[in-house]
Amino acid sequence: MKKANPKSKKRLIYLFILLISSYTLGCELKGGTNTELKRSHKKSATAPADMKVYGTMEAELTAPPFVPAPVGNRAPMKLIVDLEVTEEEGEMADGVSYVYWTFGGSVPGSFIRGRVGDEVEFTLKNHPDNKLPHNIDLHAVTGQGGGAEATYVAPGQQKTFNFKMLNPGLYVYHCATAPVGMHIANGMYGLILVEPEGGLPPVDKEYYVMQGDFYTEGKHGEPGLQQFDLQKAVDEKPEYVVFNGKVGGLTGENAISANVGETVRLFVGNGGPNLVSSFHVIGEIFDKVYLEGGDRINENVQTTIIPAGGSAIVEFQVDVPSDLVLVDHSIFRAFNKGAIGILSVSGEENHKLFKSQVREGIYNPNESLVKKMPNEKALAEVAALSKDDRVAKGKTLYNQSCFACHQSNGEGMAGAFPPLAKADYLNNKDKAIDAVIHGLSGEITVNGKKYNGVMPPQTLSDEDAANVLTFIYNSWGNDGSEITPEMIKKRR
C-alpha cells in the first residue's frame, strides 16, 4: 500500500486514543471495540515484548472439549500455569485400553489460554508414579526448544520456567523427550491459545478438538490392553485416528452442542504424530478459518488442512438443527479408524434454508418407460387383459424390478431374499399384495426359513401390480391364481 487511505488513518488514531485511555483507565475497554482491536493488534502502541504486566493470575486449565474463559479486555498479566504429566491406562475404544501419557490427565492435554504480553510462569510436574522423564515444547514459546530443555524433568520432580507470549495464535504443545515420536504417539500434546490484545471477537460457543493417530499392536477394535507398536508408527500406519484421544471422544455423551443462530468457534489441533488432517464438518461451511491458527482469515471454506503439530481456528454460524459431523475427510480415517465427532445443533427448523425430504420415491431408470405416459389407448387395452396377457406383461415387469433380488427363477437368495417359487408366503394374497405396494421390513418366515431384510414399496399402478403378481402366481409351480387391479385397489 502506497499511502494510507483516510479511513484507515482515522481508525488508527481512534485506536491510539482507545489504547491510551485503556492504560490510564486500567484497561477497562468496552466490548464493542473487540473487532477493531483484533484486526489491528499488530499495530498496538506497545510491542508485545515491552508490554507491562498488571497482577498475577492462575491460569484456568480445561480438559477437552472445553476451553477456558476468553481473556476479553484484560491487561497482560503474570500467568501461573501448573501442568502435571501422568502415565495412566485409559479407554481407546469399547473394550480396548491403552496406557496414555498425558499433560494434565487428558488427551489432548489441558487447554491453556492467555494473551499477548502475558508473562507465563510455567511449571511442569512429573508424577512420582511415572516411569519416564518428560518435558514440554510449547510452540507458543520463543526460546530454546520451546521450553523443552528448561522443563526436562524426572519422575517425582518439577521444573519451572518463564516465557512471554509474543505472537497471537493457536499453538500446539507436546512432549519432546526422546524418543519424541513415542511420547507424542502416546498422547502427549495439547493446545495453547495466545489471544491478541483485546481478545478474539466474542462468539457463542467455543470448543477444543484435537486429532491424533495411535499405533496399537492389535488391529482396530481388538479388545484388551493394547501396546504401542513402534513399527506401525514408523510405517505411519495407525490403527486409530481419533478426535480427543479415543474413539467416541467427541460422540455420544462427549458430543458438543450449539443452538440454532449461535456462532461456534472450534479450536482444532492435530497432535499427529504422523498424519495431516483434512478437517471437515459434514453439513456446515466454515464462515471463517484462521489458517494454521495464525492471523490470516479465509472465508467460506469446506475443508481445511491441519498439519501434524499445527492448528486452525474455524468459525461458523449454525443455522438449522442437525447433527453436524466432524471428520478427517481422508475419509477411511473417519469411518474405519475413529476420526468422527458430533456437533449437535438444536432449535427451530428454517425451511427457507433447509428442508429435508420434500419428496421421495424409488428411482428405477428401466421402469420409466412402463410407468410413464399411460395414454387412453393403453388404459383401454388394460381393461381388456386376459390372465395370459397379465402373465406376459407381468413377466416383463418382473424382469425389470423383481429379479435382481428374487432371481429370475424365483428362488431368491438364501439368507437374504426370500423365494417366490412355491412360497408359502403367497398363500395369503393380501399379504403378497401388501408386500408389493407397501413394501416389507422386519423378520418374516418363508418356507420355514427366517428373513430379516427390507423390501421397498414398488411404485406400480394397480394394473402393473396385478400383472406382476399374476405372473408370480403363474410361475415356478405356484397355484395359478389371477390377481386383478380391483384386488390391488382394495389393499391400497
Binding site: 526436562y152 517425582g156 523427550t177 526422546a178 513402534l230
Partner: protein, 260 residues
C-alpha cells in the same frame, strides 16, 4: 556440615558380608553403545561380576539397620530427597509384600553407599548396557526386534516396581531383571550429559530431545536405549524415583568368589 560429618556418612559402619547376594560373571568385550555410536567408536568392557538380581527392599533394610545414617529419618537432604524410601512406613517398617521387590526411591548416593559397604560398586553405564544387551540366549540381542519390543513394553507398563525379583528368565550371563522391573542407577549416570556438551555446543541434553530424529527408521534398539539414556539424563544424584532401583558390580580381578 563439616568434614567429619561427611566422612561419617560415607563410612560403612560394618562391612556387610551376610547379605552379599549371588553374582554372575560377565565376560568383557567390545561393543557399540548408543552414545558410542554417535562417535562410532567401540567401547571396551572388562570382565566383571554383577548382582544376579536387583537389590530388594529386604536387602536394603538390612543395610540401613547396620548403617543408621541411611535411615529415612537420618538421611541428609543433599544425599536423598524427601521421597527417599517412601514406600516404607518408618525407618524399618517395610511392607511385607515388598520384601522381595526391588528397592525403589533410592538416591544415587544411597545406592553407591550400599554397594561400597559390600566391597562392590555401582556399574558404569557401559557395563550396565553391555550386560543388558543380552537376551536368554545370546550376548548381544539388540538386533532382535522382538527383544527390543519386549523391553519397550516393560517401559510402558505401569507399576512394575511392585513385582518380585528373579521371577523371569535369566539372561545369557545368568542375570535377572535388567529389564522389566525398575530403572537402575549407574555410577556415571550423568556422563552422557558431560560427553554430550562437547558435541553439542554446551547443550548436552539437546541430543536426547532432538537426536532421536536421526535414529535410523528401523533401529528399534535405539528406542529402548534412548529411553534409558533419557531417564538417566533427567536425574540428579539426590533424586529418588519410584521406578528406579539398583544393583552392584565388582571387578572380576578382585578375587570375588562366585557363590553358588
Amino acid at each position: 556440615m563439616n568434614i567429619k560429618n561427611l566422612l561419617w556418612i560415607w563410612m560403612c559402619l560394618l562391612p556387610i558380608q551376610t547379605m552379599a547376594q549371588e553374582m554372575a560373571l560377565v565376560r568383557g568385550g567390545e561393543f557399540l553403545p548408543l552414545y558410542g555410536a554417535v562417535k562410532n567408536e567401540m567401547v571396551q568392557v572388562k570382565d566383571f561380576y554383577m548382582d544376579a538380581k536387583p537389590v530388594t527392599h529386604a536387602d536394603f533394610l538390612e543395610f540401613v539397620q547396620k548403617n543408621p545414617q541411611w535411615k529415612k529419618s537420618m538421611v541428609k537432604k543433599i544425599f536423598a530427597d524427601e521421597r527417599y524410601l517412601t514406600a516404607w512406613d518408618g525407618d524399618q517398617q517395610v511392607p511385607s509384600e515388598l520384601h522381595n521387590s526391588p528397592v525403589n526411591n533410592i538416591s544415587w548416593f544411597a545406592a553407591k553407599a550400599y554397594c561400597e559397604c559390600q566391597g562392590k560398586r555401582l556399574p558404569t553405564v557401559d557395563e550396565w548396557e553391555y550386560a543388558a544387551m543380552a537376551d536368554e540366549k545370546i550376548k548381544d540381542a539388540r538386533k532382535d526386534s522382538l527383544y527390543n519390543v519386549k523391553i519397550i513394553r516393560t517401559y510402558e507398563k505401569p507399576k512394575t516396581h511392585l513385582l518380585k525379583v528373579g521371577q523371569g528368565e535369566k539372561n545369557y550371563w545368568g542375570i535377572f531383571d535388567l529389564h522389566g522391573l525398575v530403572w537402575e542407577w549407574t555410577q556415571d549416570f550423568n556422563s552422557v550429559i558431560i560427553a554430550g556438551e562437547s558435541r553439542n555446543n554446551g547443550n548436552g541434553e539437546k541430543g536426547l530431545f532432538c537426536a532421536s530424529g536421526a535414529v535410523g527408521a528401523n533401529d528399534l534398539m535405539n528406542y529402548a536405549a534412548f529411553m534409558r539414556y533419557a531417564i538417566r539424563a533427567s536425574l540428579k544424584a539426590n533424586h529418588t524415583v519410584t521406578t528406579k532401583g539398583f544393583r552392584c558390580v565388582k571387578d572380576a580381578n578382585s578375587n570375588y568368589l562366585v557363590q553358588k
